[in-house]
């Protein structure tokens, strides 16, 4: 208990950074992932090809390698300078959006084709079909796997600790400098993550309950 109470100035701000990192990367990868999914279902082959190539490459690369690239290799290319925090957000976004893309795409695929055909037969336009028919149905089946991906993202933020970002994964290092027991500190960090994951799972379950439809 002492390890936690005497170091609240560590645990508080560091977990806050974790949540910030998570929120920014989540928003970024939701936007970029949706764009990628749109590319992968588009009728233009070039876009489909580019989306598939991106997803294949990123899904088969370890996140740690993506971090390594953005923190150590990217600055050498001298495009735009990124702080450690921004680099971590970029790395997490680049990685997670490939998974979000797959989730969104499979969500669109769960909508039976008859739905869209019926809508077209009724004379609805493209925007109406997407907005009123396809997306509302796709969204419902997408929520559980989408939040699973976000939970994975939350847990992945710890890797930023290895690349000079002061977030929850880095608490251990500071505790050892202050001479506290690292094992106890790590268990408190683990508990913190269990609470955060439980919150996300709760959101997942309640959304699922509210939105699930009998098909």
């Amino acid at each position: 208990m002492d390890v936690l109470l005497n170091n609240l100035d560590l645990f508080g701000p560091f977990f806050l950074t974790t949540i910030e990192l998570f929120a920014l990367a989540a928003v970024g990868s939701l936007i970029f992932g949706t764009i990628l999914a749109m590319m992968r279902v588009s009728p233009v082959p070039v876009f489909r090809w580019a989306g598939t190539a991106y997803v294949t490459v990123v899904r088969n690369t370890p996140l740690t390698l993506v971090f390594l690239f953005f923190v150590f290799a990217y600055p050498l290319l001298k495009i735009v300078d990124l702080s450690y925090f921004t680099a971590a957000v970029v790395a997490l976004t680049v990685y997670t959006s490939a998974f979000i893309c797959e989730v969104v795409r499979s969500g669109i695929n769960t909508v039976p084709i008859g739905q869209a055909e019926a809508a077209r037969a009724l004379g609805l336009g493209f925007g109406q079909i997407i907005g009123e028919i396809v997306l509302p149905q796709a969204l419902r089946s997408v929520v559980p796997p989408l939040i699973s991906t976000l939970i994975a993202l939350l847990k992945n933020t710890t890797i930023a600790a290895g690349f000079s970002v002061t977030e929850a994964g880095a608490i251990r290092q500071y505790l050892s400098e202050r001479g506290y027991n690292q094992l106890v500190g790590l268990l408190w960090v683990a508990l913190g993550f269990i609470i955060l994951v439980a919150v996300l799972s709760f959101v997942q379950r309640s959304l699922e309950k509210r939105w699930s439809v009998a098909r």
Partner: protein, 292 residues
């Protein structure tokens, strides 16, 4: 072919698509050209940055690093499969207390970030007087985390089988162990094999976390060679080379999974899973678990 999103294109739409294709090609080519130019301009394509690959010693060390990665992967995969099987059996048990304990353990290890687990074994255990090496810490972390996810996959596989399978087996007079071992498990594993292998791909990628606790695997070697002044600090080339090796290894495993899935679909022994939701959960777990 009309899809959910798009109808079969008419003449106007075809022209529009062709126009978009041209614009898209130009935009993509522009982005790729810009990136390649940045690489070229910052001198990443000079021979000096790549000559490290020619040294016998470097090639040997690179191979050793790949072997270290594969070692952690093999040990982690075997242990995780065992761990998963044990706790899946626990969660399917008829005894409430075994189910309870297994559920708590599996949920616990699934909720903790893998890196924190590895830190606990590497930095935490010496505090409690237990000596560990980076290899042991990585393998234990991989076992507990991926084992829990695999356990969920096994369980979902068994639960998604048609109920008639176990009922018929009980009607024939089999005991519950026999039902599980000779009727349910073979079918569940067959149905879940692609998902299991994609989780193993995740495990393979997760071995890269060993980099953060100085386990001398592939990524660690990339960083090491990238900081060598005598080769001109080739961190960009070494990241690219190591990335290509990781992608090749993962694609080999994924290709194996696709092959099995295709073979499965042809096979007459295959049973269509009734409970698609359980399968979704398992696939969601595998997709979401993409750490490392």
């Amino acid at each position: 072919m009309s899809t959910v999103m798009f109808d079969i294109p008419g003449p106007k739409a075809r022209v529009r698509h062709r126009l978009l294709a041209v614009i898209g090609t130009i935009a993509l080519a522009g982005i790729i050209a810009f990136v390649v130019y940045r690489f070229y301009d910052s001198g990443q394509f000079t021979a000096r940055k790549w000559e490290w690959l020619q040294y016998k010693q470097v090639q040997q060390d690179l191979l050793d690093a790949v072997l270290a990665t594969l070692q952690a992967f093999a040990a982690g995969a075997v242990l995780a499969l065992i761990f998963g099987a044990v706790f899946a059996a626990g969660r399917l048990s008829d005894h409430g207390w075994i189910r309870g304990i297994s559920t708590v353990i599996v949920e616990f290890f699934r909720a903790i970030p893998l890196l924190i687990l590895i830190f606990v074994f590497y930095y935490g255990l010496p505090m409690a007087g237990v000596e560990t090496t980076p290899f042991i810490a990585v393998v234990l972390g991989l076992m507990l985390y991926n084992g829990s996810v695999l356990g969920e996959i096994f369980r979902a596989g068994v639960q998604s089988l048609p109920k008639g399978q176990s009922e018929a087996a009980y009607a024939l007079g089999m005991r519950k162990t026999r039902v599980m071992v000779s009727v349910l498990l073979p079918q569940a594993i067959r149905a879940m094999l692609p998902t299991i292998i994609s989780q193993l791909v995740v495990l393979l990628k997760d071995t890269a976390l060993g980099f953060l606790i100085t386990y001398p695997e592939l990524l660690y070697y990339a960083r090491f060679i990238g900081s060598q002044g005598q080769f001109g600090r080739p961190i960009v080339p070494s990241t690219i080379v190591v990335g290509a090796i990781y992608i090749a290894m993962c694609l080999l495993l994924t290709g194996f999974a696709t092959y099995l899935e295709k073979r499965n679909r042809r096979s007459k022994m295959h049973i269509e899973l009734t409970d698609t939701k359980a399968k979704d959960i398992a696939e969601g777990a595998a997709a979401g678990g993409g750490a490392g």
